[in-house]
Amino acid sequence: MDVDERTTADHVGLREKTITVTVNGDSYQRTVPVRRSLVDFLREDLGLTGSHVGCEQGVCGACTVLLDGEPIRACLMFAVQADGNELTTVEGLASGEELHPIQQAFWDHHGLQCGFCTPGFLLTTYDFLREKHGATEPEIREALSGNLCRCTGYQGIVRSVQAADETWER
């Protein structure tokens, strides 16, 4: 932390820093409290509320986003740590009206119920299938094991990932 960037307040949480990030291809510059988490920044400062806060401990995976292409837990990073980085969130998956093949597969194969965990599953799947073709069910279940879903029992999610593996031209 740069001491010169302290505000006049003596409370560490009130210090602010100006950061620049690229999210889904758009560049944003914002001044944020240094204690603001990346997921809160996405949701509150940029209005991108598709990334959800499920546990704030990095366990549930609902806040999974891609940071420079790698999946991360946006609740475990401060926004200031993402300064200068590129992010992809669930809002960046579809091309206009057209759903991404992964989103389409989740729709076609009942891969969601309440939908709260879904953005995290979509981005985890995106990262997994980008490298992997012809994934087996055990491989898919392993790849998804860092994301929690309380509604589906995972059956529909696994089917959706299998389908996306077939339909996503990559």
């Binding site: 546990c55 669930v90 729709w107």
Partner: protein, 780 residues
């Protein structure tokens, strides 16, 4: 007859918004000028509250308000309870603790600030003087003489004792060849949706109405309760449910924050938001399931059940909120299941402990009772030397005995099984799972040193409870159809289901219908989504309303083309004279004719909308058979669930993919309860399961694929013939998996009498026999 949508496995209309990240959960609602609330919570399980001083918190820059119970008025409003049995000695919870705290996490004071961070900073400045008291955390210990007392009006810590009786129990036991008794315990666990709770409140300066967005399963109930507690007319409060990220029953409660947020918003004159964090969720969400069952069964030597006698003790936690007694009542009235039990007596004891208040969670008493019964039946079969499937087969009720009046009346309603083909479902499940071939496979596995087991669970569930649900169907002059429903679903796909139902009546494409839920400003009366009541109650209300709209539309169309209404048909979004498609009139033309000033038949009231309430106390019962196959690692006690078979009968299925999703998801929760989930408290009342790190829920590697067979025995209690089914997976899943683990290890000489069957528990059970297989216990 045109397209038939009821029964069609169509994709959900709900999904595109959710997939695009465009949904609006309660935390996604952003109001200008919003303030954030944080709650100071008791670190003590039991303590006298000597003083609370919020003055320093108020001084912190960014803090707008801070208050404690002293600021709630001379007589703070208690949260009401909905059932009042004769023996009830109520212990209502207040929005903030007044003079005593009774569980860790109970709210003591509140801060409202410009950000949640600042509000939590300010909590640290609140000074509270506690005088710790001895806590009691075990329900059995709580009701013994000399235990620490929670509430003065119940010095024995018994909040209520309800007795349920049918038939001549004394005679049944006196005349029995065998009486077998067992104590069977289910642990404390609960719904844990991925979205925590949250409330946003805003009083409109122009209308002085308070609008509340809440992650709740019963918005109309929330409005009624809140109006009572705030002592304002219900018309001054509007509750809206946004998208809800799972509920499973625990969002059908009235929590302190449901009062505190609107109360704070009223005090500060700005919008106030509170979003529960995961730690608060584990501390304060309605806990559930924890029951001790002492069960006795009277039998003939041939396995015929003559009677059941039981006492169960429900750990209700520190207070009873609206549904606090329901688990105890429904566990009693579910105990006999779908078996012929001529005599039954259950004493349901509701005990107070220094733990979070308990309430209904997916199944609400049925999973607990089902575990007690289905575990007991396996133990009985072993003692009688009888095949466990044969024991169940012998006692299952037959279709000829339907409807079957159990003679019991729960807190909800009379318990009458309306319909079912229990033996057929049972045989179908045994066939699917290859029960007949399992014994040989098990023997072969044992010879290889492997422990495999198969567990059977026969369950039923109360669904579609009354007294009513509301629904309206309206057609705008543009021809667009909108449904307003009193339901407040949390992921069940109910919008699609209701649109399918209306589409059949109106013959318009289901995905052109807009479905709006849980908005008290749009529908005068509603109940909500719990007790598997969407298809039965909300669905029937939509059938009623769309039938009325169809009849009126046909009369209008007939008027427009100068034909007789009985000659008109609806097809593909148009009405026309039967056999004369050229006479067609669109929905837009019909609805335009219906507008005030439009071209209507003489005497017909304007507008094309119907608001209907389905009033019904006769609840349908669905049922199912679950069969799980597991393997237990003899070295570690780790259980792996392999094949999983379900035969489910919920009458007419409106959308099979939704129904199967409910089953698969329910099974995962039942499996979690059988193997891993537990809200643990230390002897001092300190909760030890306060994050996903120490409360495990099943992940993608833990849950098997579920093979599902359907039976459709239509319910005679509603026009669609539907029964609810959302809770069945969680009811059947728990006991099927627990029985499978038992089947894998009990030949060693142990007996499974409690859950969860965590690896260490299973390992201890195996080791306790002294006859553990090779390898077991080598790490001791």
């Amino acid at each position: 007859m045109g397209v038939k949508m009821v029964g069609a496995s169509v994709r959900r209309m709900e999904d595109p918004r959710l997939l695009r990240g465009e949904a609006a959960f309660v935390d996604d609602i952003r109001l200008p000028g919003v303030l954030h609330m944080a709650v100071l919570r008791s670190p003590h399980a039991h303590a006298r509250l000597l003083s609370v001083d919020v003055r320093a918190a108020r001084e912190l820059p960014g803090v707008v308000d801070a208050f404690s119970a002293a600021d709630l008025g001379a007589e703070p409003p208690g949260i009401p309870f909905f059932y009042n049995p004769a023996s009830f000695r109520p212990a209502p919870q207040y929005p903030l603790a007044t003079d005593t705290v009774r569980y860790v996490g109970e709210g003591v004071a509140v801060v409202v600030a410009e950000s949640r961070h600042l509000a939590e900073d300010a909590l640290e400045l609140i000074e509270v003087d506690y005088e710790p008291l001895e806590a009691v955390v075990d329900a059995y210990a709580a009701i013994q003489p000399g235990a620490p007392v929670l509430h003065e009006n119940a010095p024995d810590n018994v909040a209520a004792t309800m007795v349920y009786e049918s038939g001549d129990v004394e005679a049944a036991f006196a005349g029995a060849d065998r009486v077998i008794s067992k104590r069977l315990d289910m642990q404390r666990y609960t719904g844990i949706p991925m979205e925590t709770r949250g409330v946003v409140g805003h009083r409109d300066a122009v209308t002085a109405e308070m609008t509340i967005w809440a992650s709740t399963q019963w918005p109309h109930t929330m409005r009624t309760v809140l109006a009572g507690m705030l002592a304002v007319p219900a018309r001054s409060i509007r509750v809206i449910t946004p998208d809800i990220g799972g509920g499973f029953g625990i969002k059908a409660d009235f929590y302190p924050e449901d009062f505190l947020v609107p109360f704070a918003a009223g005090r500060v004159g700005r919008p106030v938001k509170w979003i529960e964090d995961r730690n608060e969720h584990f501390l304060t969400i309605a806990h559930s399931r924890e029951q001790i069952h002492e069960v006795e069964i009277a039998l003939r030597d041939d396995g015929t059940i003559l009677g059941l006698r039981a006492r169960h003790i429900t750990d209700c936690g520190a207070y009873q909120r609206p549904l606090g007694l329901v688990n105890a009542s429904l566990a009693a009235t579910s105990l006999a299941g779908i078996y012929r039990v001529p005599a039954l007596r259950v004493e349901a004891v509701c005990a107070s402990t220094n733990k979070a208040p308990a309430s209904a969670y997916r199944g609400a008493g049925a999973p607990e009772a089902t575990f007690a019964r289905e575990r007991l039946l396996d133990i009985v079969a072993r003692e009688l030397g009888m095949d466990r499937a044969e024991l169940r087969r012998k006692n299952l009720l037959t279709p000829e005995e339907m409807p079957y009046d159990t003679g019991l009346v729960s807190l909800e309603a009379a318990v009458i099984l309306d319909s079912g083909s229990f033996p057929a479902a049972f045989e179908q499940a045994l066939d699917m799972a290859d029960y007949a071939g399992f014994a040989a496979r098990q023997q072969a596995a044992r010879e290889e040193g492997r422990l495999i087991g198969m567990g059977i669970c026969v369950y039923h569930q109360l669904t579609g409870t009354g007294p009513f649900e509301g629904g309206s169907v309206r057609v705008d002059p543009t021809g667009e159809v909108t449904i307003n429903s009193g339901a407040a679903p949390q992921g069940q796909g109910t919008a699609t289901m209701l649109a399918q139902i209306a589409a059949d009546e109106l013959q318009v494409p289901h995905d052109t219908i807009k479905v709006v839920f849980g908005d008290t400003g749009r529908l005068a009366h509603g109940m909500g989504t719990y007790a598997s009541r969407n298809a039965v109650m909300a669905g029937t209300a939509v059938v009623m309303a769309s039938t009325k709209v169809r009849e009126k539309a046909l009369a209008l169309a007939a008027h427009l083309v100068e034909a007789d209404p009985s000659d008109m048909v609806l097809e593909d979004g148009y009405a026309h004279v039967k056999g004369v498609p050229t006479t067609r009139v669109s929905w837009a033309e019909i609805a335009a004719a219906a507008t005030p000033g439009g071209n209507r038949p003489e005497g017909m009231e304007p507008d094309l909308e119907s608001v209907q309430y389905f009033e019904n106390m006769a609840a349908p019962y669905s049922y199912g058979i679950h069969i799980a196959e597991v393997e237990v690692d003899p070295d570690t006690g780790v259980t792996t669930v392999g094949r999983y078979v379900v035969v489910n009968d919920a009458g007419t299925i409106v959308n099979p993919r939704n129904a199967e999703g409910q089953i698969a998801g329910g099974v995962a929760q039942g499996l979690g309860g059988a193997l891993m989930e537990e809200l643990v408290y230390g002897p001092d009342g300190q909760p030890q399961s306060t994050s996903f790190l120490d409360y495990l829920i099943p992940g993608s590697l833990d849950v098997p694929d579920v093979e599902i067979g359907h039976l459709e025995t239509k319910s005679p209690l509603n026009p669609l013939g539907v029964k609810g089914m959302g809770e069945g997976g969680a009811i059947g899943g728990h006991s099927a998996v627990a029985n499978a683990v038992a089947d894998a290890i009990e030949h060693l000489g142990c007996t499974v009498t409690r859950t969860p069957l965590k690896p260490a528990t299973v390992w201890e059970l195996m080791r306790s026999t002294g006859a553990a297989p090779a390898g077991a216990g080598t790490t001791a």
